[in-house]
């Protein structure tokens, strides 16, 4: 089961390593990881996508809560939330593919953020389903390079 957990952590040296050590030391898997400062410069937010059965997920939560530099653990199971990921995709282009690529970009409400003689760089934002869908369509047209941010998430409302 895929599981998103978001952490508010002290914005200090070594904190990322504590979290990553915890996952590797206990045999949990990190599928995606995103870290950035919050409005409070003393805190950072980490969003981790992991997986496991119910028991493992409960342990991950409890073990994360035990880390002294972790101020808060937010999990999204059973609550409405939004998740987004961004990808930058550099496409190989030629006279035969340009129009098709632009059509796909248009359909997915993505943007071309850089244009060169033989390439487009596309920015696409969405949930994992949308990102996978556009990558599926773009792949046969020649992806040169791909960079994904990993997910960020937030509960709805409140």
């Amino acid at each position: 089961m895929e599981y998103i957990v978001s952490l508010l952590v002290e914005n200090k040296a070594g904190v990322l390593s504590r979290i990553v050590n915890l996952f590797s030391g206990r045999g949990y898997n990190i599928e995606m990881l995103n870290v950035a400062p919050t409005m409070d410069p003393l805190l950072s937010r980490m969003t981790i996508v992991t997986s496991g059965d119910e028991r493992v997920l409960e342990q991950i939560n409890k073990q994360l809560n035990k880390v002294i530099d972790v101020v808060k653990v937010v999990e999204y199971r059973g609550r409405p939330y939004v998740e987004r990921e961004m990808a930058l995709v550099k496409m190989h282009t030629d006279a035969n593919t340009r129009a098709e690529i632009l059509r796909i970009v248009d359909i997915f409400r993505a943007n071309v953020v850089s244009v060169a003689r033989d390439s487009y760089t596309i920015e696409v934002i969405g949930d994992s389903g949308k990102i996978s869908a556009i990558l599926n369509l773009l792949e046969p047209l020649g992806i040169k390079e791909l960079a994904r941010t990993g997910k960020v998430a937030m509960t709805r409302g409140e």
Binding site: A13, G14, S17, G25, R55, K62, N65, I68
Partner: protein, 564 residues
């Protein structure tokens, strides 16, 4: 008051009530040692290896509940402390380790005796700090002691670069600290406590499962009251030994891989298992899917992550065991019309039968000394003085747990989780520093003792009257036992009959010492050792291929016991 970092460190320790420090000096902490030399309030115990210092600090902490303190230098000294730190982490022992570090401007340059100490110890400390500015030092020390000694206790490390020890700042020791990510829960949820009390009252075959947490939280009196009031039988884990008097009729001794038949059978037949400060370790549970098959499980623990980690718990209570039991005990006053003893009779009779079916036993023979016999005799001779008994790791550790009878908390020191050989002797030394008027005995093996025998110099230098009993079988006995039982007697690497003459070795340090080779001399030998004013090393040649029984093979259900 303006002080340099080294002085801030020493002043802060005094404010924390520290009296003793274990360790070894070196280049990166030379400034701290220079200040230590100039004062009299803190006594420094020089061990001969850094792992000895951490184990000694653990013995100090385990025997008193106070925080043990270690000073060592950078690099190799810091890495030598790792085993002791990992051990303290596994067994939840409060120690604070100060390591020297190269100056901040050299960190990361592969300087002489540099190691990434905070990086290396991150997975085995409760928390650690690298102090980069002397202004942060006092508050960091306050935090370290607070974190080490509260909640589920554990080791904390502070890495101190050389320039931080030298730089000066205004010294203000904070009265308290606030750490927003760290708020241990002490009081159990009152509704849950009430519910659990009702469930305990209803149970026909309840069983108390008492671990080291009951000792950490000083809950042994409350455990005793609960057991006696409701006539509930009690078994302990290795770490819980001493939390309940083993002389009591409700005591089933230790359970698990080398536990008693009655304790393991009681687990498999109870209808309610009440765990207090224990963590369902694999050495206790055996095959998880067959563990306590008929029981609902209550788990009282201060660490939420311990709950439902290995075994699904039906009724968790997170909090301090002592406080929770104090709140729970009066709830049983509402059952005045109930005769608990009468109600418990059928269950206690079942247990009595198991007890008589297979007692802890060994077969004596004329020719050799049986280790179990030595420990039974030792108990007979010392039962009125409640000595602190520190064991090492291996067969003798299990024999101590089985055949020495413990009745008081903090008298049995044993490395349960990590199991580092070489723990016992320095732990005994640390316990002796903390308890100068108590009898402290280290029961060790010839393998374990060789991993820390350099500390003989320490007990001589600091006049520590530790009694060392080497149960010498010429083997790494526990591994040999597995090889005998499960690997066709192929004794790969376990024959350690090439070894020093321990008597001559102890003599070379100026320690009283002698050897026992016949059973008839054991009692007199023990008396002689116990009457030694100073330290004493006794080399007891035991039956070389004696095994620890009962034994549950790894991965089997705990009712599948190999018996004598």
């Amino acid at each position: 008051m303006r002080l340099n970092g080294a002085n801030i460190l020493l002043e802060s320790l005094k404010r924390e009530g520290v009296k003793h420090i274990f360790g070894i000096p070196g280049g990166a902490v030379i400034n701290v040692f220079d200040e230590l030399y100039k004062q009299k309030d803190l006594e420094f115990i020089l061990t001969r290896r850094e792992d000895g210092a951490t184990f000694a600090a653990e013995g100090y902490a385990r025997s008193t509940g106070k925080v043990g303190v270690v000073f060592v230098t950078s690099g190799p000294a810091a890495t030598n402390t790792v085993t002791g730190i990992a051990n303290a982490y596994m067994d939840s022992v409060p120690i604070v380790v100060f390591t020297g570090q190269v100056p901040t401007n050299l960190i990361g340059n592969d300087a002489f005796q540099e190691a990434d100490t905070t990086g290396i110890t991150r997975p085995c400390t409760k928390h650690n700090f690298l102090v980069k500015h002397v202004e942060d030092l006092a508050e960091t020390i306050k935090k370290a002691f607070y974190i080490a000694s509260t909640g589920r206790p554990g080791p904390v490390l502070i890495d101190l670069p050389k320039d931080v020890q030298v730089n000066e700042t205004e010294f203000n020791y904070p009265k308290s600290v606030f750490i927003r990510g760290y708020n241990p829960t002490y009081h159990g949820n009152p509704r849950q406590i009430k519910k659990v009390a009702q469930i305990i009252a209803k149970a026909k075959k309840p069983l108390l499962y008492v671990g080291g947490g009951a000792i950490s939280s000083e809950a042994h009196e409350e455990v005793y009251k609960l057991a006696k009031k409701l006539s509930i039988p009690v078994f302990t884990t290795l770490m819980g030994i001493g939390a309940f008097p083993e002389t009591d009729e409700l005591s089933l001794g230790m359970a698990g891989m080398h536990g008693t038949y009655r304790a393991n059978m009681a687990i498999q037949h109870c209808d309610l298992l009440i765990s207090i400060g224990a963590r369902f370790d694999d050495r206790v549970t055996g095959k998880l899917s067959d563990f306590a098959p008929c029981a609902s499980i209550v788990h009282i623990d201060i660490d939420p992550a311990s709950i439902s980690k290995n075994v699904k718990v039906d009724y968790p209570i997170v909090g301090d065991a002592k406080l929770i039991l104090q709140e729970m005990l009066p709830l049983f006053d509402g059952y005045e019309d109930r005769n608990w003893e009468e109600m418990r009779k059928p269950w206690l009779e079942m247990i009595e039968n198991w007890k008589n079916e297979h007692k802890l036993a060994y077969i004596r023979d004329e020719k050799t000394i049986k280790p179990q016999y030595v420990l039974e005799k030792l108990y007979q001779l010392t039962q009125d003085i409640y000595p602190i008994v520190a064991s090492d790791v291996g067969q003798h550790q299990m024999w101590v747990a089985q055949f020495y009878t413990f009745t008081k908390a903090r008298t049995h020191l044993s490395a349960g989780g990590l199991g580092p050989m070489g723990f016992g002797f320095p732990a005994a030394l640390g316990a002796q520093v903390a308890n100068p008027d108590r009898m402290v005995i280290n029961i060790t093996g010839d393998g374990s003792f060789q991993m820390s025998m350099q500390e003989l110099a320490t007990i001589v230098e600091f006049k520590l009257p530790v009694k060392v009993v080497i149960l010498n079988n010429g083997f790494l006995g526990m591994v040999r036992q597995w090889q005998q039982l499960f690997f066709g007697r192929r004794y790969a690497g376990t024959d350690i009959s090439v070894q020093p003459d321990f008597v001559k070795l102890a003599q070379s340090y100026g320690v009283d010492t002698f050897r026992l080779e016949e059973e008839k001399d054991v009692e007199e030998g023990l008396r002689k050792m116990l009457s030694c004013k100073g330290a004493c090393v006794m080399d007891v040649r035991i039956s070389p291929e004696e095994n620890v029984y009962p034994m549950v093979p790894a991965g089997a259900p705990i009712s599948h016991m190999l018996l004598v």
